[in-house]
Symmetry: D2
Subunit: 186 residues, 4 copies
Amino acid sequence: MGDGSFGSPAPGNAANPGWLTDIELAEARRRLPILYVEAVPVRTDGVGAVTQVGVLLRATPLGEITHTIVSGRVRYGETVRDALFRHLENDLGPMAFPQLPPQPVPFTVAEYFPMPGVSAFHDERQHAVSLAFVIPVTGTCQPRQDALEVTWMTPEEASSDALAADMEGGRATLIRLALASVGALR
Amino acid sequence: MGDGSFGSPAPGNAANPGWLTDIELAEARRRLPILYVEAVPVRTDGVGAVTQVGVLLRATPLGEITHTIVSGRVRYGETVRDALFRHLENDLGPMAFPQLPPQPVPFTVAEYFPMPGVSAFHDERQHAVSLAFVIPVTGTCQPRQDALEVTWMTPEEASSDALAADMEGGRATLIRLALASVGALR
Amino acid sequence: MGDGSFGSPAPGNAANPGWLTDIELAEARRRLPILYVEAVPVRTDGVGAVTQVGVLLRATPLGEITHTIVSGRVRYGETVRDALFRHLENDLGPMAFPQLPPQPVPFTVAEYFPMPGVSAFHDERQHAVSLAFVIPVTGTCQPRQDALEVTWMTPEEASSDALAADMEGGRATLIRLALASVGALR
Amino acid sequence: MGDGSFGSPAPGNAANPGWLTDIELAEARRRLPILYVEAVPVRTDGVGAVTQVGVLLRATPLGEITHTIVSGRVRYGETVRDALFRHLENDLGPMAFPQLPPQPVPFTVAEYFPMPGVSAFHDERQHAVSLAFVIPVTGTCQPRQDALEVTWMTPEEASSDALAADMEGGRATLIRLALASVGALR
């Protein structure tokens, strides 16, 4: 999960005691599982079948380019829906028009552990538990923050080993599970 | 399930040997479970939470008014998505703009038996197995066929005993299961 | 779907007008989508995670050996649960002790069309719509009918391209979707 | 969520820096959403349909008797499955033999806020996000800790207004959503 998922403190941050300083967050990450939301953006045809998958190009702090998906923390007092919408807007821009599903249930629960091998997912910074959703977007994506670009791929490309090599922490597996949940994995 | 779910033969009917005459359909209904799709139309807020439920007013062949939902048969050679879209358009009109979900999985599988009491669902004409979906609609509903009107209700009204008394075959239960699947049942 | 899924008429068949002769069934298959259930048998560890997948070895009418899963038709008047249990018992034997889930919802709805390419699934004999379930089994599998053997594989083996080459009609895809639904696909 | 969900520090607690002292936990609860698992225990018939629902009788710190369900926190480094199993064993005893599902996806995500009215769920101590599961149990329940007893009810009783009056924080709603997910709500 990119550092950009946390971003700079928002202007209203000081006023909300539920939001954390960087030091407090670092401390909490060594003590508690941290709740995340993740989203695989898709484009659909007229009857709802997935035709394309959106993958984010992102620069790591070391300047490397990786592929990833929409991802970020749920804040204290924030609903899962609001967190999902906030991170979609941050990563896809204000004109993406994501269609959040009426159901509160994710397609999978991805458990990221600091130690590799416990599960399919790995995050060296923390134990994170992520509710992952497939989200149709109908507008235009203009990433903000540190996401450089959104690339649209066919389901075949998005589930390929070639893409998997460019994804970290098990995100390639997460995309395959997302595609399976919509019947678009072969 | 209203007779209108089957409608008059479409113009292309004669050309497609997979579609049935009324006599053949009546015969099949005594021998095989018939596959249906059903839809509970909803309106959602900006982050996808359900705010309203659409219920159809329909006149029975005997002239009684009942409340029901979108419902109809899947034809030979037709995908479940196409059947769902066709019945939504028939019952809500061409300007409803339903958003079919990317997932192929229904919120429940409703089994209608000719004999009451086998399950929560009952259809004296047939053994029908229905894949039931919650479908957000974003446009304007103008029912065609024999549906007289679409009434929008709050989730509380839609799950009330008062409405249940006006619904047949277990449709009131189906609406409650639909509301539960989107976290809108109390 | 193997011919064995339909099997010989059961002893009580003549007494139930809802069951079909072979000729009637062949006719219905050209006119209506036929409702199926399918099951991917699995073994799980003490906390429910899938450790192994059961694949059936079956001989085709031409004497070829193929790999497949539990599959069969839902009869008139039969619940989906009863059909699922009946086919599990037929294909895995009476000592398999399958644990049917409390939920009625399948992990996917597989649509088999006679014409290849309409969907991921293909059945030249019919248009079949299948409710597919992952079913933990805790006992010993002794196939009856024409299933020769149940082979237990790791999730990796069960999702391999090598196995896929021995499966027909899109069953390899169905196993991958099953594994994804339980978080066991990488 | 009963205080008993956290219990006394386990013997190994001091050895694991990821587990929290009571003071640290109280602090974290004012700053971060806390991840929970919850379980509605059920008994099923031979083909998996729910016949009974298990409800816990629990004494509050003030000596009042309330009805509740299995509930507790996910620890740092612990999988969701392990947390679920641990709390089931704590609340139902070691002979309950719960059958955890192979799927990682809950039937709902219940969001508990300290302020009433934000959602259907309320917990004055914290912002908790709970992954809620329906869990068949096949053995004998002998509650440990502060759960006094497990009462088995029909689905009708478990979804009644009478029971709801004895449940706190929205647990009555959670049981109804659980029953709906298994098709056992009318």
